[in-house]
C-alpha cells in the first residue's frame, strides 16, 4: 500500500511511523491516534489516484487540512490520512466578478490577503484563520463572527470540486449566482466533514472590503437590552453590523485572571459586555469628513449615546485607533485559550433562537448546580446568531458526570428549540448528542444519503453519524 502511494505522490509525500507523529493528535489534545500513513497529494488527479487505490484496498480515508477542528473530526487510528496541505493553489481571483477559485489546502489568511489586494473580503473569519484551510472550513461549514452579516460558509460557496469515495472527480465548479438544474449536491458536501467525499477546490464569493470600521465595547443592563440595541444598530445603519459578540461577567473575570495583559474595558464589573463592529463600504459612511471624523464611527457613537440616555447602554468605549480596535478583538479572541487551557471540561457550541439566549443562561446554572455544586462555567457568544460557546469545568472528571452535564445542556437546548451543534460540527465529540437528540427519522435519512455516496463507509468513517456507543470515546 505505502509503495503504491509513493508511486502516486512521491516518496517524500507519504509519511508513516515517526514521520506521521505530527498528524497523530488534534488541536485540542483531546484525541490522539496512530494513522496508517499520511499522504500528501499535490493535485486533484493525485487525490483521485490515492482515493481509487484506497477504495480498491478498502482502506478508510480521513481528510485533514489545517487540523484546527474542535470535534475530533480528523482522528484516524490505523486509517489513511489524506492531507490537503500541498493542494494549495489559488487558481483564479476575479475582482470584477468578485469570486476566488482556490484549492482545499489554501490557508484562509492567504485568501484574506489575496482578496484584500483588490479591496475585497472573503467573509469567513474566525480565530484559527492563520492555519485553518479552505477545505476544512467548507467540510465543517465553519461559522465565525461574520455570519451575522454575510451568511454561512455554505452560502458563500458557488462551486465545488469533489473526489468521490471511489476516486471519481465530481465537477460542481461554477461561478453562477443562479442554477436550478437538479439537486443541491454542493450543499450536501459542505458540512459533511469529509464523510461523503473529499473537497479539493471551491469557488467562493467575495464581498467589498469595508473601507472603515466602527468598533466599540459596551456594557448593557441585560441581554434583552443588548438585543434591542442590535436591532437599533441594524436599523440605523441599514445592516452594517459585522460582529456582535457577547462576553458575560464571568468571561471578563476569567480574562482578568488569565490574561491581565489584555486589560479590561471598564473599571466596573458588568454582567453584559458586548463587542460590536460595523463595516462600511459606501463613501457616505466611510470617507472622513473635513474634520477627520468618520461618518460610520459617528453614527455608532451617536446611537450608543442615545441608548445610554434611554438606559439601554450603561457604558461604552469606541475604538479611535486600529490599536484600540485590535485590543478589543484580542479580548474576544482569547476565548479558546480561556476555555480550553484547563481540563477537564465540557465544551459546547449551541444555537438557540435569538430571543431565548437569556433563557439558556438562566436555566443552565440551576441544572448545573443540581449535578455538581462545585462546577464553574464560561460563556462567550456570537449573540447576533444566537450561537453560544458554553463551557463547563466540573469539580471532578468522571465520565458519568461529564456525560450528565453534556446531557443537561442538551436538555436546555432542546427545551428552547435550539441545536446542540451550531458551527463546530459533530466529528466524534458530538456523536452521543446526535444519537440522543436528533430525530431518528432525520438520522435515518442522513444515513440513506451516506449510503448513497459512500456505500462501503470508507470516507471518514464513524464521524457525524452515530453507529455504536464505543466510537464516541476520545
Amino acid at each position: 500500500m505505502l509503495d503504491r502511494l509513493r508511486a502516486i505522490v512521491g516518496a517524500g509525500n507519504v509519511l508513516a511511523g515517526a514521520d506521521a507523529a505530527s498528524h497523530s493528535r488534534d488541536w485540542t489534545g483531546s484525541y490522539t491516534w496512530s494513522p496508517l500513513a499520511v499522504v500528501r497529494p499535490g493535485t486533484t488527479q493525485e487525490v483521485a489516484a490515492v482515493m481509487r487505490l484506497a477504495h480498491e484496498a478498502r482502506v478508510p480515508v480521513v481528510p485533514v487540512g489545517g487540523n484546527t477542528g474542535l470535534v475530533g473530526g480528523t482522528k484516524a487510528p490505523g486509517q489513511l490520512m489524506l492531507s490537503l496541505e500541498r493542494l494549495n493553489r489559488i487558481r483564479a481571483l476575479k475582482p470584477e466578478a468578485r469570486v476566488v477559485v482556490a484549492e482545499a489546502g489554501v490557508v484562509l489568511a492567504r485568501l484574506h490577503d489575496a482578496a484584500a489586494d483588490h479591496g475585497l473580503l472573503l467573509p469567513l473569519w474566525f480565530g484559527a484563520r492563520g492555519s485553518a484551510m479552505l477545505g476544512g472550513a467548507l467540510s465543517t461549514n465553519a461559522g465565525g463572527s461574520n455570519v451575522l452579516r454575510y451568511g454561512s460558509t455554505r452560502g458563500l460557496c458557488l462551486g465545488l470540486e469533489v473526489v468521490l469515495p471511489d476516486g471519481r472527480v465530481l465537477n460542481l465548479m461554477q461561478e453562477l449566482h443562479k442554477d436550478n438544474s437538479g439537486y443541491a449536491l454542493k450543499d450536501l458536501f459542505i458540512g459533511a466533514e469529509g464523510t461523503l467525499g473529499l473537497i479539493t477546490a471551491a469557488t467562493m464569493k467575495l464581498v467589498p472590503a469595508p473601507r472603515a470600521h466602527a468598533t466599540a465595547t459596551l456594557a448593557a443592563p441585560s441581554l434583552a437590552a443588548a438585543l434591542t440595541l442590535l436591532n437599533r444598530l441594524q436599523e440605523v445603519t441599514g445592516g452594517l453590523v459585522e460582529a456582535y459578540e457577547f462576553m458575560p461577567g464571568g468571561y471578563m473575570d476569567r480574562l482578568a485572571q488569565l490574561r491581565p495583559d489584555l486589560g479590561q474595558p471598564f473599571a466596573e464589573r458588568h454582567e453584559v459586555t458586548i463587542l460590536v463592529e460595523l463595516g462600511a463600504t459606501a463613501p457616505r459612511d466611510a470617507e472622513p469628513r473635513p474634520d477627520g471624523a468618520i461618518p460610520v464611527v459617528d453614527l455608532l457613537e451617536e446611537t450608543l449615546a442615545a441608548m445610554m440616555d434611554e438606559g439601554a447602554v450603561l457604558d461604552a468605549v469606541v475604538a479611535r485607533t486600529e490599536a484600540q480596535r485590535a485590543a478589543m478583538w484580542a479580548r474576544r479572541e482569547a476565548a479558546a485559550e480561556l476555555a480550553l487551557t484547563r481540563g477537564p471540561l465540557v465544551d459546547t457550541d449551541v444555537c438557540v433562537p435569538l430571543d431565548r439566549v437569556q433563557d439558556f443562561l438562566h436555566r443552565m446554572p440551576l441544572r448545573l448546580a443540581a449535578l455538581d455544586a462545585g462546577a464553574t462555567d464560561l460563556t462567550v457568544a456570537h449573540l447576533g446568531d444566537g450561537n453560544l460557546h458554553y463551557t463547563v469545568f466540573p469539580s471532578t472528571a468522571t465520565p458519568e458526570l461529564l456525560d450528565a452535564i453534556r446531557s443537561a445542556i442538551e436538555d436546555v437546548v432542546a427545551e428552547l428549540d435550539g441545536s446542540f451543534s451550531a458551527e463546530h460540527g459533530i466529528g466524534l465529540s458530538k456523536l452521543a448528542s446526535m444519537r440522543r437528540r436528533k430525530d431518528p427519522l432525520v438520522l435515518e435519512m442522513m444515513q440513506a444519503v451516506k449510503s448513497a455516496f459512500d456505500p462501503l463507509n470508507l470516507m471518514n468513517p464513524g464521524k457525524v453519524l452515530p453507529q455504536n456507543p464505543e466510537e464516541t470515546r476520545p
Copy 2:
C-alpha cells in the same frame, strides 16, 4: 382509492373527472393531462395519510401549489395530484426574530402583506406572486428580481416540514441561524420539484422592508457600461441595489407593438435599457430632508448624472412618484406576456457569469440565423445575476427545428460556463437538456439521492432527472 381518499380529506376535497378539469393543464398551456384525481388535504396529518395510502397502493403523487410553473412540473397523467391550496395557514410571524412560519399553500402575496404589516419583507418576489404559493416557490427554488440583494429562496429558508414518499413526516423545522448537526437535508428538498418529498411548511427569513425606493429607467451605450454602472451603484450605496433588469432594444420594440398602453421610457430607441431599483431602510437614506428630497433618490440621481458625464449612461429618468415607479415595473413585468402569447417558441432561462452576458447575446443571433433565417428572438434579463430569459420564435414549428434551436442555446451556454436552467427548474421541459448537458457523474449522484429518498419512484416521477427519451414530449 377515491373512497379511501374521501375518508381522509372529506368528499368535497377529492376531485375527479370533470371536477378535476381545472387541474389538467399548466399555466403556459404547453402541457395537458387527465389526473387520476385531485386531493386537497387541509393539514400536514392529512397530507401524511394521503401519502401513506398512495405509497401502499403504489400510486404516483404529483404536488401542486399555485400551478404557475413554466416547465411542466405538475403534469400528472393518470396520477394523483396533491393540491396544497387548503394547507394555507400562517402559523406564526415573529417580527422581533424576523421569521415567518407558513404552510406550503400560502400565496406569496399574502405573506408579503402579512410581513408589510410589521415593516418587513419576504424578499421572494416575481411576477406570479399573486397566485404562486410558498411550497411551489421552495420546490423550484424560485428566483426573481431580488435574488441580487437577498439571495436565493434556498438561502431564505431556515426550516422545513416535509412529508416523505412513505407518508412519514420529516421535521426539519427550526428558526436557527446556525446549525451544523449533520447533512443539509433541507437544501436537498428545496429545488427538488417534489421528487424527493412533499414540502408542507417552512420557516422563512424576513428582512426590514425598504422605507424608500429609488427607481430609474436608463439607457446605456453597452452592456459593459451597464455592468460598470451596477458596480458603481453598489459601491456608492453600500449594496442597496434591489433589482437590475435588462431590456434590449428588441424587447422594447415588442413592448411598443403589443402593449402600447405601457408607453416607452425614451423618445429614442436604445439597445440597452435598464430598470434599476435601490431600497433603503436606514434613516440617513430613507428619511425626507427638510426640502422633501429623499436622500437615496438623490444618490441615484447624482450617480446617474456623473455616469452621463462620463458617457456610461446615455439617458435616464428617475421615478418621482409611486405611479411612475409602477409604470416602470409594468414594462418589465410584461415579459411573460410578450414571450408566451405567441407560439411556437423556445423559451429558456439561462445563467452565465456576469462578464459573459454580452458574449451570449453576440453569439446567439449567428447560431440562430444558421438554423432558421426567419427566426426572431426576445430577451429580458436579471442582469445582476447573469440570468437571461431568452426566447426564440422560429419560422416553422417542426420538433426537429425546435430541438436544434434549444440545443444551439445550450451550446452557447456551455461554451460560456453557464447553466441551461437558472431559476425556473427542470420539470419536463428541460429534461432533454439535463440528459445532453449535465455531467453524467453528476446525474448519477443525483439519481442516487433520488433512490435514497424515493426508492419506488412515486414522487413526481419522471421530473428533474431524465429517464427515457419519451418523457420529454409535452
